[in-house]
Symmetry: C2
């Protein structure tokens, strides 16, 4: 059994502190212009209603929830939500939209964090929610085939009952959908062990902008017959086609899981410890999460959780191992003792009982919420080389010294080089934003990092795309967009800065 | 230490039995027409000579080796080989070729098995051999960055000295180059454990048809900023760009390896055994190779190797486990005893000493050569669902019953669903070909398999592409080819049937 950070998203959405965020975001996008797409007329509405039936054609007050993103930072003004039940219906919808030049916003579980999952203007919303059937699971190959609208947690439960696990896990698992996971190339908590979706996904079915159904729903691990088209859709955030079915490889569930909470004196020691753990446990390492002292203080003070070890250290690591054999339980003890003796680490606790593992995870899980309790949080999700992973944090601290800031913290998936940089304040301030941005992105580029590790570009990061992609890359991306969707009806205003694409 | 099938290719190339193959292949391609590309004139030759220097501009007798493929089944008539030393030189070459409409055949180690690595007519050959520098290796992240012309075995040795392994291994490792491995999405022996190159490759640099340098040489495990362009080059067989640099994730080397040789009574038992092994050893399973009785008989009779267990059984499995802890050595004993008691398997031997492991692998390694000793071998490399993995073998046996055939055998990477179907005869016969083809491809399509598991399409399988790709897929592939290489100067006549692309 693997324990996950399941509560984070709930806190976000409940937080009243985001109440002004929609206005803030709108201000930031005043320069966006609506594309020259058709406005839906009565004929169009009749067509969609007839195609889908009344229950799957949503209009009126109910549309509001589909217009707003999860963080309530972006809000579109679409009037209609289409909920096709089959690939054929998706095909009919797109064929019609393509012909009539109707812009389409594609939505899965609407849990994205960069405004990619909601309309910007009045795009019609195509929700994959009604396509939620599991098609097959093969116990020999471990391959699951399902429709795009299946909720990740349902799939996790389904394969767990058969002795398998999904190759990835996310905080949003209770709501996010597998189609959206693919469209955003979701990373999450198991990437260090099971790799990315580009490796796990064996096949997919996608409907192209003009309604053609592209069937690459292979369940094979090896297939070298022509271009590997499926990879174009993974991570393209719904701008190249609508993913309707997915075939994904599920590993066998590990039989033993343990977790350790470790205190260290410096970031150098963290890297030495990471190196040691990779050497000793290679393929059994399923999480290596870093937390700095600011994060631990915040969790203790704002949430009331107690740090299980010495709470006066600079850095903490949550280590999770999972394997088919309980050797990890004895080995981890030995390795931690050795690391203590060699003064790589200062303090540690370890356990394999579910309650112990859960309590250790709770501290890591509650960091984002603990910062929200200060008032407002500026959040950055970047990838950096391991050696430079933490340097940006004291840098930002220095830049914000004279401003009214409650906490500047770095934590995240060190194993994957993925840093969450959080700056907590009482309330939103443009002054603070301009002290951080674009500085943090320039820094990231200088370190050859990624300005969006797992969240994607969506709408909110379009103007920062240039920090991670060269002109030649963006140019080729535009050519591909034009090849797949020449009328640009799919998820307009996303990924590309508006000046670039129109 | 992992033991590999390093000798297979050597046998192929030495075999005099292939002496007539070039003629056979030429006969099969009499309908191919040379595209309307420029013929190199004195100015062109001067330009390339000046750009590269005399040593890296090959002409005359020496070109012959670059015109012929490894199996000596395809032979081009190029007069020139260009061996750029830098990305900039590749860029200058392609800029020039693009401008002057000169067709280019891209070649790595020239170990491909489908005629993809050699020119078809007089295309100028761009060899990546002179770009063979290792750029960096990061011990913390396990990321290797190197030039495209690095020979796989050199990279394996390099990272092994640092406690890591390459995430894949091939019979051709002593000659094949990493750039060609990516271009053909090489699979090989470790795929069941470490996944495909689409998952392992973190970044690449490629020169586009017009000479532009596309730098996606990220070393990051997470990067969600726009389209994942690198995946278009992996497996596109040099038709979309020339890969010049590679960043690849190397796992930590496992500390313990063992191998078992197991005999079973029926294919149903093989599947039960596979299921059991996956359940017990999940992430430690590094090979699960099936061999039928025909293969074992052939190895015993033609090579003189002794089967280490009862040699009167229907099926044999080579199982390899690798892990960070020696639990696999005790566990495998227990699991095999249990499987014997439950009559899932009939006989088994297992060992962890390098010499034992090597001897077990030797049997599997020598199967292809043993069939060659009969005279001529028809070889098919297909992927099938596990349940249907072996059914085609008796089917083909039945079809060839009245013809003069020495052996019909199925063996291969059952773990990945990858079957090698071999038909051995005294000599080549069109009658036998037409009894097998296109039947074997039709069968594969019916089973939703792949007509080329790891070898690609190249030149030799272009006419069978349709068996694994729908019209819509081929149409999109053509559009992509047109987007990346509108003049179609890169590796012409490959992947697409000629009628399709011109």
């Amino acid at each position: 059994m693997i324990f996950t950070i399941s509560n984070i998203r709930k806190f976000y959405t409940q937080s009243v502190l985001f109440k002004n965020a929609i206005q803030l975001t709108k201000d930031r996008f005043t320069n966006l212009k609506r594309g020259s797409y058709a406005v839906l007329n009565a004929n169009d509405v009749d067509y969609f209603k007839k195609l889908l039936g009344d229950n799957n054609f949503i209009t009126g007050e109910e549309v509001k929830a589909y217009n707003e993103d999860w963080l309530k930072t972006v809000c579109g003004s679409s009037k209609y939500v289409l909920k096709p039940k089959t690939t054929e219906q998706v095909s009919e919808i797109l064929k019609y939209c393509y012909k009539h030049n109707i812009a389409v916003s594609i939505q899965g579980g609407n849990t994205g964090l960069v405004g990619g999952s909601v309309p910007v203007f009045d795009e019609v919303i195509l929700s994959t929610s009604a396509m939620n059937k599991i098609i097959s699971f093969n116990k020999l190959s471990g391959v699951l085939v399902c429709e795009a609208g299946c909720v990740l947690e349902n799939l996790m439960n389904y394969v767990q009952n058969k002795g398998f696990i999904m190759p990835f896990d996310l905080g949003a698992k209770g709501t996010c959908q597998i189609g959206g996971n693919l469209a955003t190339n979701a990373g999450g908590l198991r990437l260090i062990k099971y790799g990315s979706l580009q490796g796990s996904v064996l096949g997919l079915q996608a409907v192209l902008a003009d309604g053609q159904v592209l069937d690459c729903l292979s369940t094979l691990k090896k297939d070298n017959t022509g271009y590997h088209l499926k990879h174009m859709f993974i991570g393209s955030e719904g701008t190249l086609g609508v993913i309707t079915k997915v075939a994904i490889h599920c590993p066998n569930a590990p039989k033993f899981v343990n977790a350790a909470f470790i205190g260290l004196k410096s970031f150098d020691k963290v890297l030495s410890f990471f190196s040691l753990i990779r050497k000793e446990f290679g393929g059994s390492l399923s999480s290596f999460e870093l937390m700095d002292s600011v994060a631990i203080t915040s969790v203790q003070k704002n949430i009331g959780l107690k740090c299980p070890i010495d709470d006066n250290l600079e850095f903490y690591v949550l280590l999770e191992l999972s394997a088919d054999n309980n050797f990890i339980n004895t080995s981890i003890q030995e390795v931690l003792e050795q690391a203590l003796a060699e003064e790589i680490i200062v303090d540690a606790t370890v356990g394999d009982q579910p309650s112990v593992v859960q309590n250790i995870w709770k501290i890591r899980e509650n960091i984002p919420e603990s910062f929200l309790r200060y008032g407002y949080v500026y959040k950055y999700d970047i990838t950096l080389p391991h050696e430079l992973f933490y340097e940006i944090v004291p840098e930002i601290r220095k830049r914000l010294e004279i401003l009214d800031v409650k906490a500047v913290s770095g934590y995240g998936h060190l194993g994957d080089g993925n840093l969450h940089l959080n700056v907590a304040t009482n309330e939103h301030s443009d002054k603070i934003v301009s002290a951080i941005e674009p500085y943090v992105y320039e820094w990231t580029t200088k370190c050859k990092g990624s300005i969006s590790a797992e969240h994607g570009i969506g709408l909110l990061k379009t103007k920062y795309l240039k920090y991670s992609k060269s002109d030649i890359e963006v140019d080729l991306m535009k050519k591909l967009k034009n090849t797949f969707d020449p009328k640009k009806i799919l998820n307009p205003y996303k990924i590309f800065p508006q000046d670039d694409i129109n």
